[in-house]
């Protein structure tokens, strides 16, 4: 069999390619199975789960901005137990890695959800300490040193079976500090970045476009910020980094690899066209073949300064 140049390994787990769909932009995976062959994806990070069902923020929840969008969904989800009963058995039929993104309103809740997930048939956990759209939990944990340390180490202590990815918030002055704290607290990998806190106002009514007033900015507009943060994180920690933010084509993926990523997640681009992740996988393959690059992982952190 021909070698698979796209294969990557994160915390000992092999991914057939480095393309993972980002949490919150791919539902529970199943929504997209009507439109694309989700078995072709390297992995899927499912919508952020909490202990109990959450109904999210009031409408309007989305508004488009230049080359991006603002959302204030509010981490709406069906709760961890319903996910395990209703969605996971269907998702398991597909040949792709399953990462479960999760969050809590308190440290105890984070730990409880993590413990439940640690014992089910999924590949990795991704702790979200960076959602800007909820009052409790989320970003409050990811922008305070002590809270970050506490939540990551508490969760890590309570899980035995799965690697833990910590998803960083870009809404901090120095991401290096937070990346280091996560590594020291036991994180097995880092994903960066979540959405940037933003706002948009209707100049006719003078009211904010979103019911929540502020929202999370995503899409190509945030890519330069994300690339910078992956680069800085790569220089700071030894654990693998999953790059996220504004990726829409294979060139963006290569850029994230050069900056220090071992894999990437595709978010808003899934809305732009559900076929984009598949197209990226094909384009990457062609790129590596044309450039005679044996494995994509050789590009990780290959940036040349000077």
């Amino acid at each position: 069999m021909a070698k698979n140049r796209l294969e990557v390994e994160i915390c000992g787990i092999k991914f057939k390619n480095p393309i993972i769909t980002a949490s919150g932009t791919f539902g529970y995976g199943i929504e997209y199975s009507r439109f694309i062959d989700i078995s072709k994806l390297g992995g899927i990070s499912v919508k952020g789960l909490s202990l109990n069902e959450v109904s999210g923020n009031m409408m309007p929840r989305i508004i488009e901005t230049p080359a991006g969008m603002l959302n204030a969904i509010g981490l709406q989800n069906i709760g961890v137990n319903r996910f395990i009963e209703e969605k996971l058995p269907i998702l398991k039929k597909y040949d792709t890695r399953i990462i479960v993104n999760f969050w809590g309103k308190t440290i105890e809740e984070y730990v409880e959800v993590a413990k439940i997930l640690d014992s089910v048939d999924i590949d990795m956990l991704e702790i979200n300490i960076s959602c800007p759209n909820i009052k409790e939990g989320g970003i409050a944990f990811g922008t305070d040193h002590k809270m970050t340390e506490k939540v990551v180490s508490s969760v890590k202590k309570n899980i035995k079976n799965k690697p833990l990815i910590v998803k960083l918030s870009p809404n901090v002055t120095d991401i290096k500090l937070f990346a280091k704290i996560c590594e020291d607290s036991g994180a097995d990998a880092i994903s960066a970045i979540n959405t940037l806190l933003g706002m948009s106002i209707d100049i006719e009514t003078k009211k904010p476009h979103l019911s929540n007033i502020t929202g999370g900015l995503s899409g190509p507009a945030i890519k330069p910020v994300a690339v910078r943060m992956v680069y800085e994180t790569y220089k700071t920690v030894k654990i693998p980094i999953i790059g996220i933010g504004g990726i829409i084509n294979y060139k963006d993926v290569i850029e994230f690899f050069i900056a220090g990523s071992t894999a990437v997640q595709i978010g808003t681009a899934n809305f732009v066209d559900p076929e984009i992740p598949i197209k990226i996988i094909n384009d990457l393959k062609t790129y590596l073949e044309n450039k005679n690059i044996d494995k994509i992982s050789s590009l990780t952190g290959s940036i040349k300064i000077n």
Partner: protein, 255 residues
């Protein structure tokens, strides 16, 4: 998928009518369904980023049509696309209207909300229904495609707010007959809300086609929530998957 633009006609200062050839799309499209359309033909142009939702206006052999009105950047770019340009769009999405047989039906459309009622009227005519169309707009410039509706509808009643065509009234004010088995409506929210209150208690089935801002159109982003009554509860539905057509008697218009 992609298709070729057969024409992109300007109907008035704000309205355009576009025809796209795509046998693949046409195969499965039902009346009341919508699709997500990339409003320009460049692959990597990222502004506007998201696709835009539009209703299936009509199906003619291998082609489908869109009646659209200029709103902002996306529809402006769309209006500039030339014949033969290749354009990309999703499969037909959403639930669509229910198609009844041998009934007396009313269609109530306002402004560009008339769009999905055209294909619906064809399907209803094929099923031997008697169809009355109520069509309202602000002014004569908002009333389009009448020549198509004349082939499918038994009665057509028109009103404009300024009286430039038909009666000078809101469309809901000129409805005097309530003897219908089912009412279908699509248009601005205040109009649909009025339609429901006018027909409530008189007609059991009122199907409203709602529009809500959409990012994905596929049920994944949870950005397009509609609230409906289910027994004693108010529950969330996704406009793009559980809709865009809802039971008018159950919609919660204001929360």
């Amino acid at each position: 998928m992609t298709g070729k633009i057969v024409f992109n006609k300007k109907l008035s200062d704000k309205y355009y009518y576009m025809k796209i050839e795509s046998p693949e799309f046409v195969k499965n499209a039902k009346p009341g369904q919508f699709f997500m359309l990339k409003t320009q033909s460049f692959d990597y142009l990222v502004d506007p980023l998201l696709r835009r939702p539009f209703g299936v206006c009509d199906i003619e052999e291998d082609c489908f049509t869109i009646l659209y009105t200029l709103v902002g950047k996306g529809t402006y770019l769309l209006s500039n696309l030339q014949t033969s340009t290749e354009i990309s769009f999703s499969n037909p999405l959403g639930n669509g209207f229910s198609i009844v047989k041998n009934k007396n039906v009313a269609l109530v459309g306002g402004g560009v909300g008339i769009a999905p009622l055209l294909y619906l009227s064809k399907a209803l005519k094929d099923n031997n229904n008697s169809i009355t169309l109520y069509y309202g707009g602000k002014s004569i410039g908002d009333i389009h495609l009448l020549e198509y509706f004349e082939n499918t509808c038994d009665y057509i009643k028109i009103s404009t707010e300024d009286g430039s065509l038909g009666e000078k009234a809101l469309i809901t004010d000129i409805i005097t007959n309530f003897d219908y088995d089912i009412v279908y409506t699509c248009g601005p929210k205040p109009m649909m809300k009025n339609v429901v209150s006018v027909f409530q208690d008189k007609v059991e089935n009122i199907e409203v086609s709602l529009d809500e801002r959409m990012a994905c159109g596929l049920g994944a982003c949870l950005g397009c929530i509609i609230y409906v009554k289910e027994g004693d509860n108010i529950v969330q539905k996704r406009c793009c998957v559980e809709g865009p057509v809802f039971d008018g008697n159950k919609v919660v218009w204001e929360l």
